[in-house]
Every structure is written in structure tokens, then in C-alpha cells.
């Protein structure tokens, strides 16, 4: 089970909960699992958040793989200048 950590951006959907165990092999499956648990959170993270999978940031990448022991941080999407 991947460990997913969500910051304060997600709290309105999770009621303040930050850490979840999620059965998922890809980013898309994480999104679906989060949405099933917290309706609306899937669309929110898909639009607003990047996925830091074991330290590597993935952005707008549904099929990036997630391992069974992966640590996935949801962080605001990053731009730049």
C-alpha cells in the first residue's frame, strides 16, 4: 500500500486528515482512490496538485508508476519564471 500524504490544501476535503494508505499502481489510481474516499478530492488534486513519488515530482502524469511501498506527497503544482 502506498502512503499518501496530503497537505493543508486538501484538508477541506479530508476534514483535516493528512495521511492515507492507498492501494494504487499509478497516479491515476491514487486520484480515483482519494476521490472514492473523499468525494471531490480527486478532481481537486488532479487540477491543483503535483505528486512527489519517492522524492521525484510528477505533474499532470496519470500513468506515472507508484510502488507498493512508495511515499507520495501531494504538493501544489509548481511553475516558475
Amino acid at each position: 500500500m502506498a502512503r499518501v500524504v496530503a497537505g493543508s490544501e486538501c484538508w477541506p476535503y479530508t476534514g483535516g486528515a493528512s495521511e492515507f494508505e492507498v492501494e494504487a499502481g499509478t497516479v491515476r489510481e491514487i486520484i480515483a482512490a482519494l476521490d472514492a474516499r473523499f468525494p471531490g478530492l480527486g478532481a481537486f488534486v488532479d487540477k491543483r496538485m503535483a505528486f512527489a513519488i519517492d522524492g521525484e515530482i510528477h505533474q499532470d502524469a496519470w500513468f506515472s508508476p507508484v510502488g507498493p511501498d512508495s511515499e507520495v506527497f501531494l504538493i501544489p503544482k509548481i511553475g516558475g519564471g
Binding site: 500524504v5 497537505g7 512527489a52 506527497f73 509548481i78 511553475g79 516558475g80
Partner: protein
């Protein structure tokens, strides 16, 4: 002086990557042949001009353009009524999601003007004189409203509210009334109270920065032509012509396929050209007039109506053990967003403590709208502001502890395996090596002179990847064209050509890099976020590998051997079956036979690059302060940076030097100054003082290549944004060293220094 530090480990033999060939755009730029946005013209084109609000905050009661329209030579007048009234919607297409309604309202005010200089109408006429005369004939009736510029004043419950629909996001409960506070960001770890209770030493400070402009030399410029069939062309200078296409199509209700955007050479952007201002207006004027319309901003318009970055307030409290271990950090950031939500305070919060491994911290960021131009991205958006506060506080901590400032940072440095303050676990970072590079530098070991001080500061930026397309086409003589969709702001054409040449095994002068229009190459995200050499570079290498694969397949046919018996080595197809005794075939030889072996040889790759890999910078600055005038001069500056692998080291050094120069200006001179009516008083380069070459010493760059990015075929990391993060604090810390007084408010201008010296003397 510049140098490169590498691990002595063996690396793949590279003949072109890492060398310093002549830049492919150099001759055009030094001879004046390069065509920038304002250089393009079309037969029959009109001149477009914008009428801008004279008030910082006003309700637009009515606009009467009848007298302007009646002026001979005037072909079109437009207002917000000529654009769809768009609903709030997150729009992707730029670097980060934009709000479509806000984008539309920023391009042309509807109902209210929200800052001095906000566009309220535009005209197209046969000459500049007639266009400007027409502007004077447009009668706008305003109801002037109270305005607010200062970010703390804007947060007050009594402040004039810019948007009745704006309710603060990120609070535990939705507020019961609108305010100017758009959003609260929060990052935290551990137990802050426990951390401070365990601290032996605590420092605390409030630091402020002013709004500064990106200061690109080339003002915004475009030509737009709306065809009779409804298909449109735009020629403009931007950081992303696909971004221009998307934004224009959505703002005007067009299909993407009806808009073609051709990129001009760009005279600087630094984040400020990641959105649109003129292009939608020129298109609407062209639609209304039936003729092409050219629009070029004046420098004054650039200052008054395009995005500066935020002014900000940073409150920092740090707690440390007596051995220098930082055990607690409390950071609060308050950033101006300008007229619409979306300051870079989120990134400021995420980067504020990214260089430090601190067990207990709280970072809160406030995004606040003000009656100033909507901020735009500016190199590592948000990070220089928070770094100024944090790095100044770390300097204070070093002084209080009596510690060497580099040793203090080394003691608390993040490394591979450290959980970053913004969440993920760091991998493949070279931060400690970058600190060591400065500690071992000759600069660090050189004594200071009279009235001089030395400052150290560090900085971090994430870097990004994203979507890119690249194509490689082989000519019949064996030369290659490398085509991408990213405007070249910082030398990307050189690095694209070099990576293609390295992969193909061609000399660099046989590879010509080109940037294609939106109909001639696949989608590419804009040039920003330090992404192009990383992401588009990966696409280029993949496209070149498709070409070498096809070349091997052609050789296999010619040799009548299986494909897997041919390899591409040193720019030639080599037969691996020794029994066949085939002489290697060069790219030139294979290209000459391409028609007979299957047709033209090309490769294209499209990617959405992930895993960009963050970068770190460590800066060392010496200043000299004139005690009679308060003038601060930077007399020596060395910047070390974790770059992964420098594809073209001269360009990487240039990125470092450019970031430092802009950071020095931010620290010492630059600021938006407003009068009591909310009008910018210094909207020109005479009064808005950016550093010029004579203001700066040679800026020395040390490229640290000990932590290449494993995601990139040559190990590249983004390099363009990190170097603007540390200079604000590096300069301020040096001034502290020189005069013995902390200067917490930027810019550190001579009057402020004199006042500080007088107060100290008194």
C-alpha cells in the same frame, strides 16, 4: 573567473556536451538581423494603442468612443464589450493554472479599473499620431474608489475591497464576507512550541521587499491578423507561443486550430512574458478593422500595466541549540498579488526552508490583492522574497552563535534522504558540495578591505519538466535541423543543437536549431520554470535516437543483415557481424541514399517530462559602503550552483550571472514607488534604477556537477531560477557586515544606509 567542480568519477565520453561552441543566435543578434517582436510588419497594418485607467481603483460608469470613431484614420475602437464576459474557470496553457475570468479582466477592464494603467479601451488607426489622438477623444466616466497599495493595509478589515466575490481560501471556515486576502497557505512539521522551548538561542526579524519588475529590455510587441475566413495569425514575443495561442483562443472564443502563433526572437522575459496583454487586443482590433494590427508597448506601459513581482513581508523566528542545530522555525509570508489573486507566496512558502533540515516549523503564507498591476512570474517566483527573510535571520543566528555562516548552513543542510520542508524526500542533490565549493573558494579565503563586508546566502528552486515536442530532420547532405516549440530565452537553441549533435555524432556546425510556429511543431509548454534544457532536451535526444535507429535500419537493409546487427557509434552505422566485413556507413553516406532506401529521415518525440530535479545555490558577496554617501557597491561576488551537468557551460554561467545581477538590483535599487493616488512615480529606467554593467564586478560562477540528474540523458538540471534566490540576502548580509547594522527593508538605498549609520553613530 569561472570554474567547474566535478567528481573524478568516470563519465560517458562526450565530445560536444560540456563544450563551449559559438552560440547559434549570436551572429544575428550582434549584427541586428535578429527579428524581435517589434521588427515584424505586414502590408496595410494599423497601429494599435491602449487607453489606460488614470485611477488606481475606479468604477467605469460609461465609455463614449463616438468622437474617436469619427476621427478620420481611425479604423476600430474596442472595449470590454468586444470580448466575451467569461466566467471564473481554471485555465491551463500557461505555466501554472490561470483564472480565465481574471485573465480576461486584466487584458481589458470590465466594470472596474483595478490599477493605474489598467486597459479600458484600445484603438487601431492608420498612424501612431491618429491612434493617440483617438485615445484623447474617448470619454470614460469614472467613479473613483478608495484604493490600497500596501499589502498590510489591504488585509485590514477596513480596506477597500477589490473584488466582492473574493473569499479567503485556506481558512478552517469560509469567511462571512469578502476581503482582499485571497488565500492562506500553510506548511508545518513537528511541534513548534516544543522546538522553541528546546532552543538555546532565538532570533527574530521582520523583513520587507518592494515590488520589482522583471526589467526585460524588449517591451511587449505583436502583430495580429484576423483573416476573412476567421483564421488568425499572431506574431509576438513571448515565453511561449502555444500559451499565446491557448489564451487568445479562450479569451476570444476561437478554436485552437483557428489561431497560429509565430514566435519572434525574445529580448528577455524572466517570467514576465508567460501571459498575454496585447495579443488579444490586437486580434480584436484586427477583427473589427479587417486589417492587421501592430501593437508595441512603451517602457512606461511595461511598468504600469505588466506584471512586476510581489512586494512582500517576511516574519521569521528561528531557534537553535548552542551548537548551531536549528530546532524550530516560524515563518510568515505576506505577498502582494496585484489586482487579481495569484501571488507566488505558495512557492515562497515551499522554498523558504527548503535548504534546511529542521524538525519543527510552521510556514504560513498570505496571498493579498492590491490596486497594483497583477503580478507575473519572475525567476523562481516567490523564492527570493522568502529567502531574503530566512537567510537574513540565519545570518543573525550565526552572529549570535558566533558561528561561521557556512558552517552553520552545513550543520543544518538537507542532503540525499532528507525530507524536504515541502514534503518529498531529496534525491541526487549536490547542496553540501555547493556549500563546500564556496568554503574552498579563493574568494572566501581573501581578506576584506576597509568599509567592506561579506555576506553568505543560499537558495533553492524545484525546477520543472512538462510537455515538449522536438523533431530532428536529416538533410540530404547529412546535416540536421532540430525543431522545437520553445522560445529561446537563455540559450536553449545552443543546448538543443549540442544534445542532438552529441546523439547523432555530428559536428555542431552541421546542426541547425529552429523554433517553429504553433502549426509546425507539436505542443510545448512555455519556456519557464527552468524546464527547456531538461524537458525539451529530453525530447530532442529521443527524436535524435529515432533518427539513429532509422539510420541503422537503412544500413541493415544495405548490408542485408538483421537490424540488431547494426549499432550507431561515433556518428556511423557499424556492422556488429564481423563475418560480413562491412565498412561503417557515415550519416552523410546514408543521407545521400535516403530516397532509394526508404525516403526522408526524420524523428519526432513528444514527452511529458517528470523528475526535473531541484537545484541549490550558495552565494558569497562582498560590498563596500561609502560612509559619506551611503552608497553600497558590490565589489566581489561568487555564486556556486548545483547544476547537474552543464550542457553549454558558458550559458549556464550566463544564467548564474544574470540572476545575480537582477538580485543585486532588487537588493540595492529597484522598487515601485507610488504616489498618494496609487500612481507609479518611477515608470522609466531613469527613475527605476536597474544595475548596469558598470555597477557590477565580474560575477564569478562555480558550476557544481557532482549530482547529475539521472532522469536526463546527460544529467542536466534546470539552472535559470536558482541564481536569483540568494542575492537579496547575500547583499544584505554583506551590508550588515560592513556597517554593523541590519538593513531589513529592501532596497538598501543610500538614504536608508545613511540613516542607519547616523542612528548607529547617535
Amino acid at each position: 573567473m569561472s570554474e567547474t567542480l566535478e567528481k573524478p568519477a568516470p563519465k560517458a565520453a562526450l565530445s560536444i556536451v560540456g563544450s563551449r561552441p559559438v552560440r547559434p543566435d549570436g551572429a544575428d543578434k550582434v549584427t541586428g538581423r535578429a527579428a524581435y517582436g517589434a521588427d515584424f510588419n505586414m502590408p496595410g497594418q494599423l497601429v494599435g494603442r491602449v487607453l489606460r485607467s488614470p485611477h488606481a481603483h475606479a468604477r467605469i460608469v460609461s465609455i463614449d468612443a463616438s468622437k474617436a470613431r469619427a476621427l478620420p484614420g481611425v479604423k476600430a475602437v474596442i472595449t470590454a464589450a468586444d470580448f466575451p464576459d467569461l466566467a471564473s474557470e481554471e485555465l491551463e496553457g500557461g505555466e501554472a493554472a490561470a483564472n480565465l475570468r481574471d485573465l480576461s479582466l486584466n487584458v481589458m477592464a470590465r466594470g472596474k479599473a483595478l490599477y493605474h494603467g489598467h486597459a479600458v479601451a484600445a484603438v487601431a488607426a492608420v498612424s501612431t499620431e491618429i491612434a493617440e489622438a483617438a485615445l484623447e477623444r474617448i470619454k470614460v466616466t469614472y467613479e473613483v474608489l478608495p484604493h490600497v497599495i500596501d499589502v498590510e493595509a489591504a488585509m485590514s478589515p477596513d480596506a477597500p475591497v477589490l473584488h466582492d466575490h473574493l473569499f479567503t481560501e485556506g481558512l478552517e471556515a469560509r469567511p462571512d464576507r469578502p476581503s482582499n486576502i485571497a488565500k492562506k497557505h500553510r506548511f508545518a512539521r513537528g511541534d513548534l512550541a516544543e522546538g522553541f522551548a528546546a532552543a538555546d538561542v532565538v532570533v527574530e526579524g521582520r523583513y520587507t521587499t518592494k515590488a520589482t519588475h522583471q526589467g526585460y529590455i524588449e517591451p511587449h510587441a505583436c502583430v495580429a491578423a484576423w483573416g476573412e475566413d476567421g483564421r488568425c495569425d499572431v506574431w509576438s514575443s513571448s515565453q511561449g507561443h502555444f500559451m499565446v495561442r491557448t489564451f487568445c483562443a479562450r479569451l476570444l472564443g476561437l478554436d485552437i486550430s483557428d489561431v497560429r502563433v509565430t514566435p519572434a526572437e525574445i529580448g528577455g522575459g524572466f517570467g514576465g512574458k508567460t501571459t498575454v496583454y496585447l495579443e488579444p487586443l490586437a486580434l480584436a482590433l484586427s477583427r473589427a478593422s479587417g486589417r492587421p494590427v501592430k501593437m508595441v508597448m512603451s517602457r512606461e506601459e511595461v511598468f504600469r500595466a505588466t506584471g512586476p513581482t510581489s512586494g512582500g513581508i517576511v516574519r521569521v523566528r528561528l531557534g537553535a541549540k548552542s551548537d548551531g542545530t536549528i530546532v524550530a522555525a516560524d515563518v510568515e509570508l505576506t505577498y502582494q498579488a496585484g489586482a487579481f489573486p495569484g501571488s507566488p507566496v505558495g512557492a515562497g512558502a515551499m522554498t523558504a526552508l527548503a535548504c534546511y533540515d529542521i524538525p519543527n516549523f510552521s510556514i504560513v503564507g498570505w496571498d493579498v490583492v492590491t490596486n497594483t498591476p497583477k503580478v507575473a512570474a519572475y525567476r523562481a517566483p516567490g523564492a527570493p522574497i522568502s529567502a531574503f527573510g530566512v537567510e537574513s535571520a540565519v545570518d543573525e543566528l550565526a552572529l549570535k552563535l558566533g558561528m561561521d555562516p557556512i558552517a552553520l548552513r552545513e550543520k543544518n543542510a538537507v542532503k540525499d534522504g532528507t525530507k524536504a520542508s515541502y514534503g518529498p524526500t531529496f534525491q541526487n542533490i549536490g547542496y553540501l558540495d555547493t556549500l563546500a565549493a564556496i568554503r574552498e573558494s579563493e574568494h572566501w579565503k581573501t581578506p576584506l578591505g576597509p568599509n567592506q563586508g561579506r555576506g553568505v546566502a543560499v537558495g533553492f528552486w524545484f525546477n520543472v519538466g512538462g510537455e515538449s515536442t522536438a523533431a530532428v530532420h536529416i538533410g540530404e547532405d547529412g546535416s540536421a535541423a532540430v525543431v522545437t516549440g520553445n522560445p529561446d530565452i537563455g540559450g536553449s537553441r545552443a543546448s538543443m543543437a549540442m544534445m542532438a549533435a552529441e546523439t547523432l555524432g555530428l559536428p555542431i556546425d552541421k546542426v541547425r536549431p529552429m523554433i517553429a510556429d504553433t502549426s509546425s511543431i507539436g505542443y510545448s509548454m512555455l519556456t519557464g520554470g527552468s524546464r527547456v534544457t531538461f524537458a525539451t532536451g529530453m525530447a530532442v535526444v529521443q527524436a535524435a535516437e529515432k533518427v539513429t535507429g532509422e539510420l541503422c535500419a537503412r544500413a541493415a537493409k544495405l548490408w542485408d543483415v538483421p537490424r540488431d546487427q547494426v549499432a550507431w557509434e561515433g556518428g556511423k552505422a557499424v556492422c556488429l557481424d564481423a563475418a560480413k566485413d562491412r565498412a561503417p556507413l557515415s550519416l552523410e553516406a546514408l543521407a545521400a541514399q535516403s530516397a532509394r532506401t526508404g525516403g526522408p529521415i526524420s524523428g519526432q518525440a513528444t514527452i511529458n517530462a517528470q523528475g526535473a530535479g531541484p537545484g541549490f545555490g550558495v552565494h558569497l558577496c562582498d560590498v563596500e559602503v561609502d560612509p559619506e554617501t551611503g552608497q553600497v557597491s558590490v565589489v566581489r561576488y561568487t555564486a556556486a550552483q548545483d547544476v547537474g551537468k552543464a550542457i553549454h557551460p558558458s550559458y549556464v554561467e550566463g544564467q548564474v550571472q544574470g540572476g545575480v545581477a537582477q538580485g543585486v538590483g532588487w537588493a540595492l535599487n529597484e522598487e515601485y514607488i507610488f504616489d498618494g493616488e496609487g500612481r507609479m512615480e518611477n515608470a522609466g529606467f531613469l527613475d527605476y534604477r536597474m544595475p548596469v554593467a558598470s555597477d557590477l564586478p565580474m560575477l564569478d560562477a562555480i558550476l557544481v556537477e557532482t549530482a547529475p540528474n539521472p532522469r536526463h540523458p546527460f544529467g542536466a538540471k534546470g539552472v535559470g531560477e536558482v541564481p536569483i534566490v540568494p542575492p537579496l540576502a547575500a547583499v544584505a548580509n554583506a551590508v550588515r557586515g560592513a556597517i554593523g547594522v541590519r538593513m531589513p527593508d529592501l532596497p538598501i538605498s543610500p538614504p536608508k544606509v545613511l540613516a542607519a549609520l547616523d542612528a548607529k553613530g547617535g
